[in-house]
């Protein structure tokens, strides 16, 4: 019965079997999850962020659990571009879902250098520009909060990306996320992913020190979901129409909705809010097969609601009644 439902989506020119991704930093380079889940059932896969040179990462503690969430400050620990090409590309080549490589750096040249080297790789469908990592001293979030810088870095990387899809990941730690989203679109972004984590802190009251060695970390998990749904809807309403001139549904710049997704109903909320696809993040740590379960749950919802194609659901939020005083 669920087989008759079409949950395939178009995402910036990519035909995806379904709208479910796994988010950067929560699924490694794919080999780590091989024993636990079948990644080929997903719509898309986003690698842990790669930098030009390897990064050792922050001291520990790097994580702390909070109410329905967690803070992380890994510090973009990663093997660097060369080792990524030598050791990980062959693993990613075997994936049949759309593979995005998340790219981070300290300078625009860093980002461009990584993307240039990978732009011709068959295994890669696109790049996710991580300009919103809150856990590194240089680069990261500092790029993602200034509209002019967002446009500059996006357009520089877009040139290097060639035919590949360029997705820009947005930080929620800004006054108006739509301003940043427009800046990315202006720079040539093909898609937007939102949201990255919130900069946050937990204090040990016995020692009066922050729990994390990095002092602050990024808050993720179910705790941030309602904010993420709101911001996806805001960007969908305020940024998408600019491009699609009147035609909203399925048109305009596609949004990858991220933030505390753990179940199919969480995923569906994001899609109704305006996301063309969604990514499961923190929940992968708890249930490596979570994303695959969500795909089944989305199908069941569509059957129950007699939705023939998931595309009908994207941005289908009803306008609620606002009583004027």
């Amino acid at each position: 019965m669920t087989e008759t439902v079409d949950i395939s989506v178009d995402f910036a020119g990519l035909k995806l079997a379904n709208p479910v991704f796994v988010a950067s930093g929560t699924c490694g380079y794919a080999d780590e999850l091989a024993d636990f889940t079948d990644l080929n059932q997903l719509g898309g896969f986003i690698t842990k962020s790669i930098t030009l040179k390897p990064r050792k990462g922050n001291a520990t503690p790097r994580i702390v659990e909070t109410d329905s969430g967690m803070l992380n400050a890994i510090g973009l620990a990663n093997i660097g571009l060369d080792a990524f090409i030598q050791e990980k590309l062959s693993i990613l080549e075997k994936l049949t879902c759309a593979v995005f490589v998340s790219v981070a750096g300290e300078t625009i040249d860093d980002y461009v250098a990584v993307v240039q080297r990978l732009a011709t790789e068959q295994a890669i469908a696109g790049f996710e520009l991580n300009i919103s990592c809150p856990n590194v001293a240089k680069g990261g979030i500092s790029f993602g909060t200034e509209p002019a810088q967002v446009t500059e870095i996006t357009s520089a990387v877009k040139k290097a990306a060639g035919e590949k899809v360029l997705m820009v990941k947005l930080s929620p730690c800004v006054t108006d996320i739509s301003v940043i989203a427009r800046a990315a679109v202006e720079g040539g972004a093909d898609a937007l992913s939102l949201i990255n984590t919130f900069t946050a802190m937990v204090i040990d009251i016995e020692t009066r020190k922050p729990v994390l060695a990095n002092r602050t970390g990024g808050l993720s998990g179910p705790a941030i979901k309602p904010v993420a749904v709101y911001l996806v809807n805001k960007v969908y309403n305020e940024v998408t129409p600019l491009l699609a001139s009147g035609k909203r549904q399925g048109g305009g710049i596609p949004i990858l909705g991220i933030g505390g997704i753990r179940t199919a109903s969480d995923a569906i909320e994001f899609i109704i809010a305006g996301a063309s696809a969604i990514a499961v993040g923190t929940a992968n740590f708890i249930e490596p097969g979570c994303a695959v379960k969500i795909i089944e749950g989305i199908k069941k919802y569509c059957v129950r609601k007699e939705i023939k194609s998931i595309k009908e659901l994207i941005g289908s939020l009803e306008q609620g009644q606002i009583d004027s005083p």
Partner: protein
């Protein structure tokens, strides 16, 4: 896909025992069948599993110690890692025992698990203790809750390596913080069979408490050093296995290095995933022939490390 049984995975286990040992110490018995039984039958001492306790009920408020009541209501998210104090297989089933101490909202929930309940378990994970060729003596040094994997190791050593002499050193702040079942009043300062958990494998033990409430008065590492000084053991034939607080492991590493004895330590870190994805559980390690250090992952590279490789900060 081959028909080969997986070495690890996500499995549902059934609770077959959950017994309070003393005060805040409990022992949970989990039973696996099918692929889970096959995977866990091969679990080695020092390996661990991640338990999902997020949907387990809290005890009634009067059953929650006052110092834990504030934390008790917090909705937990992540799985919790536990090592094993025993693994036994019979036919198509594998029983895994976990020694745990109630310290926060997750372990508090764990106490309400009853026989027949189902628990989602990821494992077995990480690398356990290794037994190098030619060792004649194994010295197991425990700090508090570090007892779990070393109880398991004592069983495996006495069963599979009958020629190796095993002696246990167990320490805690007070006798109330020793995670052992039997009354501890008879514990002496001498090596003997006072700890039932080891005596049942024919293994002698020596106890130390910081306050002297049982056994040797002082740190277990001092007690161990003193014992070592009174013996003429061959360093090359001996191996130390240790699990406990990091400060203690750092001291053990130093003692082992001074004496030229091989030493394996089981490290502990906050973990989100336990399978090498989240990169949370970094352990700073030395790089041979350099002053540089690198981060290894406690979950995938450990939790058992050669003590010479860890860059301890004392």
């Amino acid at each position: 896909m081959t028909n080969e049984k997986p070495n690890r995975g996500v499995f549902d286990a059934v609770v077959i025992a959950n017994k309070q040992i003393r005060q805040r110490f409990y022992r949970l018995g989990l039973e696996f069948s099918g692929d889970g039984a096959a995977a866990f039958a091969k679990a080695k001492p020092g390996q661990f599993a991640e338990l999902d306790l997020s949907c387990i009920a809290l005890p009634a408020i009067e059953g929650i110690a006052e110092d834990l009541r504030d934390a008790a209501g917090r909705k937990i998210l992540l799985r919790r890692p536990f090592s094993f104090c025993d693994v036994s297989s019979q036919k198509e089933r594998t029983r895994v025992d976990i020694l745990y101490c109630v310290v926060g909202p997750a372990t508090l929930r764990m106490t309400t698990l009853s026989v027949g309940n189902s628990v989602s378990v990821i494992g077995p994970l990480g690398n356990g203790f290794r037994v190098p060729e030619g060792k004649k003596t194994a010295l197991l040094v425990i700090g508090g809750m570090g007892a779990g994997p070393l109880i398991h190791l004592a069983k495996v050593l006495t069963t599979n390596y009958p020629d190796i002499e095993v002696i246990v050193f167990a320490g805690a702040k007070t006798k109330w913080e020793l995670p052992f079942e039997k009354p501890l009043d008879e514990i002496s300062q001498q090596v003997g069979f006072s700890l039932h958990e080891f005596a049942k494998y024919g293994v002698e033990s020596l106890v130390a408490t910081d306050d002297g409430s049982a056994g040797y008065e002082g740190l277990i590492t001092d007690c161990f050093s003193k014992w070592l000084g009174q013996r003429s053991i061959s360093a090359k034939d001996t191996i130390i296995y240790s699990c406990g607080p990091e400060e203690m492991l750092a001291r053990m590493a130093r003692i082992a290095e001074e004496r030229g004895i091989d030493c394996q330590v089981s490290m502990e870190r906050q973990m989100a995933c336990g399978i090498g994805v989240c990169q949370s559980c970094a352990v700073e390690c030395k790089v041979e022939g350099s002053n540089e250090t690198i981060y290894k992952l406690c979950c995938e590279d450990g939790p058992v490390f050669d003590s010479r490789k860890v860059a301890f900060k004392l």
